[in-house]
Symmetry: C2
Subunit: 334 residues, 2 copies
């Protein structure tokens, strides 16, 4: 049987158990030119909250009653004359939170479990890694000597952003929640410093850690931290707007950055990015990140939970911060 | 005698008569290598409000007791072996709100009253014109076919921005206060449409006038209108942050653009500009704008008031909007 998590109610504010419904259906049949994929892992990402909203965004909103959208990685267990995929192939794509999918393979690509563990293909070698890599290089235009600030520094995207910036020769300061995460960011990931926004005064600590200001701020969180970063910009600084996790569960109006005129004072820019725009270059990005990992220059951590039925409570960890690295759910049953 | 307007008190909120003090002093003596300039006109600009604040900005804050900073144009009436300027030359620069200045000439440049009336050298052929030209071309990266929105459309900067965009082959929509200004913007300046923010629903009218959205928003005002524009961005749109007149007199915190995540959704950017960065290219800008004026493609309007003692009440027109075009004060007495 195929356990599927359906999106059944648009949340106001935080999503909760009533947002989804777990259903059990027959494993789908495949047609000529299709494959059946057994899913191993699904990805949990803050962006999911945005997909639940109605209205125009960078991607169509999820429809009520559809399978919960997510990145995923699994194995082809049946193929019916598919031009690219055969039985036994491992593939990643956006198959959603379910155990099986019948598909013509569009949007899926092969991955090699011998080169990296499967969860990494929906983490550092998947969307979060590509977001980090193209965000800091193409949008942030990172260069040697830059002072780079990264929020969500212990998370799937931020951890890679900071490490790439270190590799590029920057001074890198992270922001994360709690002393454990900050320790991880500095000791394990090699950031120069990490500010604990839950226990420290971000504005004051920014002054200490970046006395001459910031060249790049890679923003995953929005809210007060974005304002604090705006207050520390150097001339011609670049802010990469990747997300705003602090605002996703707002029931009231989004909080705008009241310090935005710092863009004018410092001739700085704030630019939004969506990873899908770099789809043609994922192979290039994965090769570079994979190479650094092989050389031990880049570390990746996946926090893997188990059981499709545990999706709602695992999802909460995205916003509570109770996770270490990329959040992944194992949906295949042993 | 030399009438000088001194900046004597930092305002909270709006500047008023108590902000300045009019003093009468002896006309200064000039030393070897200096010139004495008799000022004809001084420029009034919304940026002045920012200069009155303490703290870091794109230019040093004005010091209490100093002559009120302003752009100006006047005539050299005495020269003592100056390498560049001689008696009779007309020069523009930043001489402040006073009738005479003794200077070594740094920051001043010659202008020709036969080519254009003097007030135009502190308007369309001065800072506001340069701001408009380099803002829309270099920061906005305007190109044929773009849909361009300009706030402060009847003002010194906005009126030029929109006309330049028309010359470049864009659809141009202005935003201005009141039916008279809107009529001027469309009938005289040739914008395709103008939204009256005092009497119309900007969001609704934007939908009507820009059904497919905006490629460029040139922002002189900030506040609600910036949010409305953010809500109408097209993919890869550019917002040029030139000013935020709606927020300059705030006693409370600046209002940030709550719709800023539209930058992410639309892979758009918001970039601040300060005209001084283009100082090396003013001659180029003035030549291009002057050429278009000579061809009748570009119109310029200066609203000239008289009497240095009327500076405080004239200044108020910047924020009340009670002016037509570039605000200028004649300080020379007949």
């Amino acid at each position: 049987m195929n356990k599927q998590l359906l999106f059944v109610k648009r949340p106001e504010g935080e999503a909760d158990a009533s947002t989804w419904s777990l259903e059990t259906n027959a494993i789908p049949e495949i047609k000529e030119g299709e494959v059946l994929i057994q899913q191993h892992y699904v990805s949990l990402d803050p962006a999911m909250r945005g997909w639940m909203n109605e209205g125009k965004s960078y991607i169509a909103p999820m429809e009520i009653g559809s399978v919960m959208r997510s990145g995923s990685v699994g194995q082809v267990i049946k193929a019916n004359n598919h031009p690219d995929f055969k039985e036994g192939d491992y593939v990643a794509g956006y198959a959603g939170v379910q155990q099986y999918i019948a598909t013509d393979g569009q949007g899926f690509y092969k991955v090699d479990p011998k080169l990296a563990p499967l969860p990494m293909y929906i983490g550092t070698l998947g969307m979060p890694g590509m977001t980090a890599y193209f965000g800091i290089t193409e949008v942030g235009k990172v260069k040697e000597g830059d002072v780079v600030l990264v929020s969500g520094a212990a998370g799937a995207v931020g951890s890679i952003v900071g490490q790439v910036a270190k590799i590029k020769g920057c001074r890198v300061v992270g922001i994360a929640g709690g002393p454990d995460k900050c320790k991880y960011v500095v000791d394990e990931l090699g950031f120069d410093a990490c500010i604990d926004y839950k226990n420290e005064d971000v504005k004051e600590r920014l002054k200490e850690e970046c006395p001459k200001g910031l060249d790049i701020y890679f923003d995953n969180v929005g809210g007060e931290i974005l304002d604090a970063a705006l207050g520390r910009l150097r001339m011609h600084a670049r802010i990469v707007i990747c997300g705003a996790i602090s605002q996703y569960n707002n029931k009231t109006k989004m909080r705008g950055p009241s310090n935005y005129l710092s863009l004018l004072v410092n001739r700085a820019s704030m630019t939004g990015m969506v990873v899908f725009d770099y789809q043609d270059r994922y192979a290039e990005g994965a090769k570079i990140l994979g190479g650094w990992m092989a050389q031990g220059k880049l570390k990746s951590r996946e926090d893997v939970y188990e059981g499709i039925e545990n999706f709602p409570e695992t999802y909460k960890r995205l916003f509570s911060g109770d996770k270490k690295g990329k959040l992944v759910l194992k949906v295949i049953e042993d």
